[in-house]
Every structure is written in C-alpha cells, then in structure tokens.
C-alpha cells in the first residue's frame, strides 16, 4: 500500500480496534471494508508528518477537496453538522468522518437520515426550518446563479406553499417532526441521500 511506518502502525491499531473490540463498526452502519476504505481516504488528507493520525482534525477546506463533496452545494453545512470540534469550524476527525459516511450509507435508517438532513438544511442552527432556511435551501437546490434563481415573487409563493403543505401546527416553521413526516412520505429520499466513497 506504500504506507509509512507510522501509517502502518495506525492501520494496525485500527485493525486491532476493529477486530478485537469491534468498536467502531458496531456503532455505525458501515461494513468493515467500508471503514478501512474510509480510513485510506481519510489518511490521504492527513499531512505526512502527523503521528497520531486517528485523532488528527482535518480542516473543512481539506475535507471539501474530496471529489464526493466538492461540487455539492451543501458541503459546508455537512461539515459543520458532523463536526464535533469545540470551535465549530467544520473540521472533522476520523470519528466524525465515519459518522458522516454512516449517515449517508446504504443501510442507515430513515430516522438517522432524516435527522441529519434536517440539521443540514437548518442553515441558522435554530432547530427549525424557518422562511430564511427554506429560502437558502431552495437557492442551493436551484444553483444560486442569476438565471436559475426564482424571482422573489415565485420564492415567496413557493415557501408559502411548502409551509402550507408541511407545517401542521401552523407556527410558521417546519420542525423536526413535521420534516420527518414529509420525508416519510417521500420514497425517493432514502436513495438520494447517499454518498458512496
């Protein structure tokens, strides 16, 4: 594999963890091969001189160089949601990276996917999808360039319709339960909320 000594040690450490304690694999929806593959991809982004590779935090900009995330309009939100760093800068260590892959994997439950989708779409992190969040979401969906944007009138109408359809308790926002209710009726969600490394 062309690994250095330190990389091989960490790989062995990981194997030890994975095989003897079966720690990570049980907590995620990934298979052992997927975890190893994820480790290989993660390792490529860690600078060569780092010793303790599993604990190293990759900055958000480095994560965004992954081809699977580069072109995605939600890439920054994804990093911020899965990051457990104290300064909330979107940096990911290996555990966070596995969390990300697990939530986007084939076998993750609808619950997990809808939970994380909600958090990704909640741009202002206030726990619900307000008008502002929905507007940003639609802009991400339509590309945000001038000729693909909706006119302000259309945007207002669109958001009014969305709220009318999904806001059951009529408080002007879509909370997690309402979001999950809409998602549960949409059979395409599970197949589209997937990232494969």
């Amino acid at each position: 594999m062309g690994t250095t000594a330190s990389q091989l040690d960490t790989l062995r450490l990981l194997e030890y963890e994975v095989s003897v304690h079966s720690s990570i694999q049980e907590l995620t929806f990934l298979t052992k091969q997927e975890i190893l593959h994820a480790y290989q991809r993660f390792d490529e982004l860690v600078p060569k001189e780092v010793k303790n590779r599993l604990d190293y935090r990759i900055s958000m900009n480095d994560v965004l160089t992954l081809p699977e995330l580069k072109a995605n309009p939600f890439n920054e939100r994804i990093c911020k949601v899965f990051s457990t760093s104290d300064i909330k800068d979107g940096s990911l260590d290996f555990d966070d990276f596995l969390d990300l892959l697990s939530a986007f994997s084939d076998s993750a439950t609808l619950d997990i996917k809808s939970h994380y989708a909600f958090r990704i779409f909640d741009f202002d992190d206030d726990g619900t999808l307000g008008r502002h969040d929905l507007e940003k979401l639609v802009n991400c969906l339509t590309g945000g360039t001038d000729d693909t944007n909706l006119t302000p009138d259309e945007m207002r109408q669109l958001i009014d319709n969305i709220l009318e359809e999904s806001d059951i308790d009529k408080d002007g926002t879509v909370n997690l339960s309402e979001f999950q209710h809409v998602i549960s009726r949409s059979p395409d969600f599970v197949s589209s909320f997937k990232i494969v490394l």
Binding site: Q33, S102, D125, R131, N161, I168, S177, D188
Partner: protein
C-alpha cells in the same frame, strides 16, 4: 432578586439562540409562568428592566433571525392591534420570550443531547417491555393537554439541564438490560456522534462484565499477537479486494455521479436481470447439462460442420448439441461399469446400484418446474418489497415540500451534472408552482373537445400501428412457414440459404420493435401532455401493448403452427426448432440493440446538435430501454424449456450490453430533464417483469407441458403423451414400489388436479386483501384526525406565547411607570 434563569448574560447576536448552548435549554414554560404568577402584582425592580434596556439594543439583530417565526405567530395579533408588521422593524417579542421560544422542546428535540437521550430512554423502555412500537394510551401520564409527544416530552420539560447525567445514567441502565443485538441496534440508530456513542457503550460495558473484555486481549506472547494481526491484515486486504471486484461498482458510481439515480436505476435493473439468469443457468447446468454431458447419446450420422452463420442462426452444427432439447436422452442414465457406455433402459447391468441412476426426463421436468417456481417467489417477494417502499397511505398531496426536501441527489459528483441538476430543479419547481396555481383555471369546453380529439387521434394512430405490426408479423410468419414447407419438399436445397431465410422473421420483428416506439414518441409529442408522469405512463402502456401482442402472435406461430404439425416442414424435432427460433430472436434483438446504440444514438446526437441546433445532448430514454430488457428476458424464459443453455446466452448478452450502454450513455446522452420518480418507476418495472413478462412465459411453458405432445424421436419426453406425464408416471411408480407413499399420490391428485382447492385458496386470498384494505382505510381516518389535533395544539401554543408576551408587556409598562415616578421624585 435573582430569577431562575440568568438574565445577566450578555445577549450576543445569534449565539444565544442556538440550542446547542445547553445552559439555556429546557428553561420551561412552567417555571417561567409559575414565577410570573408568583411575582404577581409586586412592583419591585425586576431584572426585566435591565433586560429591556439591553434588549432594545440587540433586538434588531435578534429580529433578523426570528422575524420569520415571530411573524408566523404574530400575524394574528398584529391584525387585531393594527400594528405595523414591517419585518425590518424590531420585533416586539421580548428577548426572554425569544429565549424560551428558541429552547422550546419541539425545536431542540433534534439537537440537544438531553432530548435525544430521553427519547431513546423511552424507546429502550419499550423494548424492554416488548410493547408495540406505537405507545398505548395507558402509557401517557395524565395531563390536561394530552399531546402526541407526551410520552417523550414530559421528561424533558420537567427535568432541568443538570439532570442530563441522570438521563444518561438511566439510558445506560436500560441498555444494559437489553440483549446484545438490541443494544447494538439501538446504539447504532441514535443520532449522536460516534464519540458520545463510544462513551455510552463504554459505560454499559463497564458495568456489564468488566472481566470478559480484557480476557479477549491475547495476553500470551507478542509473537502470537503479531500473527493474529497479520492474519487479520491479510483477511482485510482480501475483503477489500473482493469489495473492489464487486460487480461494476466503480462504473455504476460514475454513472450515478454523472446522471443521477434515474439512469442508474436502469443499470441496476440490468444487474438484477443478470442475477436471475445466473441463477437459472446454474440450476439447468447442474441438473441437466452436466449429467447429460457425462453421458453423451449416440449422434446421427449427418452432423454438419461449424460455419459462422451458426452463431447467429443457432442451427447447423449446434442442432445436435447440449444446447437444445433434442440432445437430451429420455431414459435413466446409469453409471457405466467396466468402461462401457451403457445407456439403454432395457438392459440392466449387474454391477449397478439403483442409487447411481439419474432419470433424465424426470430431472428435466422438475428442474424447469422448480426454477420457474423459485423465480416466481423471488419476483413476487421483490415486487412486494418495492411496492411497500413506494406506496403511501396518506393521501394528502405535498408535492412541493417533498420535492424541495428530498430531491437533491447527493450521489451526483461531477460539477457539470450538479449544474444540470440545479437547472432541472429550477425548471421543475417553476413548472410545479405553475401547475399548482393553474389548477384553479378551468379549460373551456371547446378546448377540452379539441384536446379529446387530439388524444383520440394519437391513440388511433398507435393502436392502428400496433395492429398493423401484428398482422404483418402473422402473415409473414405464415409466408415463411409455407416457404419452409416448399423447400422441405424439394430435394436439393442449399442449407446455408435455408438458414439465412430463417433469419428473416426475427429481423422483421426486431425492426418493428425499433421503429414503432419512435412513432409513439411522435404521437406523444403531438399530444402535448401537461403532466410528465402521465406522459411516461402512456408511453409505457403503448410500448407494452406492442410487445405483448407481437409476442402473443409469435407464441401462436410456434406452438399453434409449428408444434401442431411438425412433419409439414420435415421436422424431426419441433422443440429443437422452436429453441433455435428463440435463440435467433434473442441474437437478432441483441444485434439490433447494438446497432441502435452504437449508431442510432450517435447519429441522433449529431443530428440534434448540428441540424436541429439544440445545445443539449438527447436524454436517455429509461422506460424504453427497460422495456427492451424485459422483452428479451421474456424470450429467455420462454426458451429455457426448449434450450437449457439459453440463460448462458442471455448472460453473455447482458454483460456485453452493459458495457456498450455505459459507454454510449457517457458519450451521447444526458440525464432526463423531466422529473423522474425513481422508486415508483422501479416498482413499475419489477411489476412489469412479474406480470406480463414472467406470467406470460410461465403460461406458455405450462401450456406446452400440459397439452402439446412432445416429438416422438428426440428429447427426454419421447414416448410420452404430454411432458407432464413424466411427473405423473414417477408418482405412479413410487406408489407401485412403496404402497405407503400412496398418500403422496393422493395428495398430488387432489391438489394439482382438483380445481376446488384453487377456488378455496383464491377465496381466502381475497378475504385477506379485503381485510387489509379496511385496515388501511381506518388508518387514513386516524391520520386525518391527528392532523386536526396537531393544528389545535398549535393554536394553544400561540395563545400561551402571546399571553406570556402580554404579561411581559404589562410588567414593562408598570416598571416604566415606576421608574419615571422614581426619577421624578
């Protein structure tokens, strides 16, 4: 006078409002309102003054974050009071209200650890009690406002933030009492980060059995440890190698990354068909081909040499090979002893034991029967699973919300595809918006009549074209039949020419299959459907109609004409001839598909880009390609009886087709612009594979086995009245040899041959379906009631918040008056 919550915190921008700030979490309504009531009429200087001053500075910032929510709740009041609701002006909610709004449990349930822990505490509790997934009414504690989330929410509302440790402890307690599998499933399903889950698991294991985990560490020597690690390392390398070999994984990822889930579903369907054929091939190979290959029968003298044409026509050299029905012997194959080939039924060598015998005709009958039966089960199972995924009880239609929330395909990686997808989304959203708005407009009667006429004309064209095709196939097949009869009577005919002429009918059918869908597309373009899904369904319906009718005519030709009087065309073995026909049809279909893909799509792209001047490449027509796959598979299924090696041909064909299609799609096509409901279409395709395709094939095969007399001089069923009698005879023989097994024979006679059993079975089936449909109706009613209930809860909430706000306003007013009085004095 310190309140229960710390109001002296500086209100920094939006940071306070984030529920991740867990000190502010779960400051409850109860506490606040209770305090307000206690404070009552006391007019001492409240911190609210301080709060008020601060809030005036910051409310503008807060307002920008909260105007939306404030607006929603505030709409009613503003109209009543006639206040301005300009969102840029500072929102009149006080920041205490804001703080409470932000920490409302319905907003934090997704984020705060405490809420998630208590939610999962309740889930584990239910698992422990092994109760049903829906909580019963008894489990709700009594409250004046019974709410749906009551069973989870009460715990959050009452406990404060300091009891998160307690919640975690209680959850760990519950987890310990679950079985290992349940525990892991629960841990896996929690939306917490891996670090937190590791912590929970560590705590659970700590209390569990602290000794066993340490005993797993090999304590012996370092050498042993390294050996184990080395073994594991090589095992993982092997596993990752296998993973990389996973059929077409990388190619499929590229296609999905560029075209999205819709086009990917076509390739996944191809993969599914490949697995069906592999299964069929394995079964026929193991049970039919292999035994027969080990005991080859005597061959007729005139065995022609191999020519290139044989690959396409399947005749000539291939006629007397394992490939076709005619090669298979009808007797019991016995293991030769003393090096002799002894394959006749009459003489029974002494050195044989009965166990080594292999009854070929029985094996043939049962293999075909069992493989069809198992394929049927697999198809019905996958159809029902797919149907269950895409069918939704709730009738309320929320297309826009669903579209916005679930339409972004995270699999798409390529930048240009992402841009394309964004453009598509924009167009589709605008279209759906226009549709929603336009629904109210009614078309005039003149317009409606005109549309009806256009539709009628289009359908007339399509049905006429289909009928024309069917008639032409019928007459052409009759013509070919007569031609064969004529050449059969002639003495000296060029065998190559004869073979080539046999290719005419397949070529015609493939040509019609290629051209007519184009005509259907033209008709659909003329009709200008409003809704793209209706358009897809209509196209599917027309194509299906064409293929089903053509196949029906062909089956009549084979089973009704050829099989009825095989001596007319000098056929010794009509089954081999039918097998060859099917082989020819498959190969011709493949050749035409290849030509169409390689040249047709390329030419169409050049044509549309250069001549028509469109900037885009043509879209990949998923529905049509899938129907082509289903058509080929139907042919393969019909042909298995007559040619046991046909699944192998189909496998090779599908493999080649995959690579050709992938390269063609990459070069010539783009993702479909119309919205494509993937799971619905996948369900439809599986259903089409099951119902017209597999059902038709099995009806054909069953009819052949049941009522057509097999040819008398070839194949495993010669000297039998029908193929079915092979099974019957075996049962009779069994009965003769072991009288105890007469029960089996009787059961067989009743079940298979008595129609009464079928009626009873069908009746029970219908009753069960009716029962389930009633259950679904009831659930729909419950959903409607619950939605009303939630709306009323929302009204409650609005009322309480506005009451809270008015209490604050009153206090503010009173304290302001007090202050002005104080300062005045």
């Amino acid at each position: 006078m310190a309140g229960n919550f710390d109001l002296n915190q500086p209100l920094v921008g939006a940071g306070l409002e984030s529920p991740a700030d867990e000190e502010g979490v779960h400051v409850s309504f109860n506490q606040l309102i209770a305090e307000q009531c206690q404070a009552g009429e006391r007019l001492d200087g409240f911190e609210l003054q301080q709060l008020d001053e601060e809030s005036r500075d910051y409310v503008a910032e807060l307002g920008s974050g909260f105007e939306s929510s404030g607006r929603g709740l505030y709409d009613i009041e503003s109209d009543d009071d006639g206040r301005q609701t300009d969102p840029l002006v500072s929102v009149p909610w006080s920041s205490a209200t804001m703080k409470i709004l932000s920490s409302m449990p319905s907003r934090t349930i997704g984020r705060s650890r405490g809420a998630i822990l208590s939610q999962y505490y309740n889930k584990t509790l239910q698992l422990r009690r092994r109760s049903q997934s829906r909580p019963s009414i008894r489990d709700f504690s009594h409250s004046s406002r019974p709410s749906i989330r009551g069973y989870g929410m009460e715990v959050d509302v009452i406990d404060g933030p300091q009891s998160e440790m307690e919640k975690s402890e209680r959850l760990v307690n519950n987890l310990q009492n679950l079985s290992m599998g349940d525990r892991m499933k629960m841990l896996r399903g929690m939306p917490l980060s891996v670090v937190e889950k590791k912590e929970l698991r560590r705590k659970t294991l700590q209390r569990d059995k602290p000794l066993t985990s340490s005993s797993k560490i090999p304590c012996c020597s370092q050498l042993k440890y390294y050996i184990i690690i080395a073994v594991r390392h090589s095992w993982y390398s092997w596993l990752s190698f296998l993973h990389s070999l996973q059929l077409w994984q990388f190619l499929l990822k590229r296609v999905g990354g560029r075209f999205g889930t819709g086009v990917l579903s076509y390739f996944l369907f191809l993969k599914t068909l490949l697995f069906f054929n592999v299964f069929l091939f394995l079964v026929t190979f193991l049970f039919l081909v292999l035994p027969q290959a080990m005991h080859p029968p005597e061959l007729p003298e005139e065995r022609r040499n191999f020519t290139g044409l044989d690959l396409i026509s399947g005749a000539g050299h291939f006629t007397d090979t394992l490939m076709y029905y005619g090669y298979y012997s009808n007797f019991t194959l016995r293991r030769s002893c003393a090096g002799q080939h002894n394959t006749s039924a009459s003489s029974a060598p002494d050195c044989l034991s009965k166990r080594l015998s292999y009854n070929m005709s029985l094996a043939y009958f049962f293999t075909i029967g069992m493989s069809f039966f198992i394929t049927c089960i697999i198809l019905v199972y996958s159809m029902s699973k797919s149907f269950g995924r895409s069918f939704r009880i709730d009738k309320s239609y929320s297309i826009l919300a669903m579209k916005v929330f679930s339409s972004w395909d995270f699999k798409v990686i390529k930048k240009s595809s992402v841009e394309l997808m964004s453009e598509n989304n924009c167009t589709q959203l605008k279209e759906i918006l226009a549709e929603v708005v336009q629904k109210k407009e009614k078309t005039g009667p003149c317009q409606a009549l005109w549309r009806l006429m256009v539709h009628g004309l289009a359908w007339a064209i399509c049905i006429g074209a289909t009928a024309g095709c069917v008639i032409s196939v019928y007459f052409f097949s009759e013509f070919m039949h007569k031609d064969l009869q004529r050449t059969a009577r002639l003495a000296n005919t060029n065998p190559l020419l004869k073979e080539a002429s046999l290719l005419a009918l397949p070529a015609l059918v493939s040509l019609l299959n290629l051209l007519l869908p184009g005509l259907f597309n033209l008709a659909a373009w003329m009709e200008e459907y409003h809704s793209p899904s209706v358009r897809t369904y209509v196209a599917l319906g027309r194509n299906l109609m064409l293929k089903v009718s053509v196949l029906a005519v062909l089956c009549y030709h084979w089973l009704g004409r050829v099989a009825a009087k095989p001596s007319d065309i000098n056929l010794v073995c009509w089954e081999t001839f039918v097998g060859q026909e099917l082989y020819r049809f498959l190969i011709m279909d493949f050749i035409f598909t290849l030509l169409n893909t390689l040249f047709g799509e390329l030419l169409w792209r050049l044509f549309s880009q250069r001549v028509l001047g469109r900037g885009r490449k043509p879209a990949f027509d998923i529905a049509r390609n899938v129907l082509d796959l289903i058509y080929a598979q139907t042919l393969a299924w019909i042909g298995v009886l007559f040619s046991p090696l046909l699944p192998a041909v189909q496998i090779l064909k599908l493999l080649l087709l995959f690579y050709v299609k992938v390269s063609s799609v990459m070069m010539n096509c783009q993702a479909p612009r119309k919205p494509y409901r993937v799971s619905q279409m996948t369900t439809i395709f599986i259903t089409l594979l099951c119902f017209p395709s597999f059902l038709g094939a099995s009806v054909c095969v069953t009819y052949t086995m049941w009522s057509i007399p097999p040819s008398t001089s070839c194949g495993p069923f010669r000297h039998l009245g029908t193929m079915f009698q092979a099974g019957k005879r075996w049962v009779q023989e069994l009965e003769k040899n072991n009288p105890d097994l007469s029960v089996v024979a009787k059961v067989h006679a009743y079940l298979v041959e008595n129609p009464f059993f079928l009626f009873v079975g069908a009746g029970i089936f219908l009753i069960v379906i009716y029962f389930y449909s009633q259950v679904v109706d009831g659930q729909r009613k419950v959903i409607a009631l619950l939605q009303e209930h939630i709306e009323k809860e929302g009204v409650d909430k609005k009322y309480l918040i506005t009451q809270l706000q008015s209490v604050h306003e009153r206090k503010k007013g009173i304290s302001r008056r007090l202050r002005s009085q104080d300062s005045g004095c």
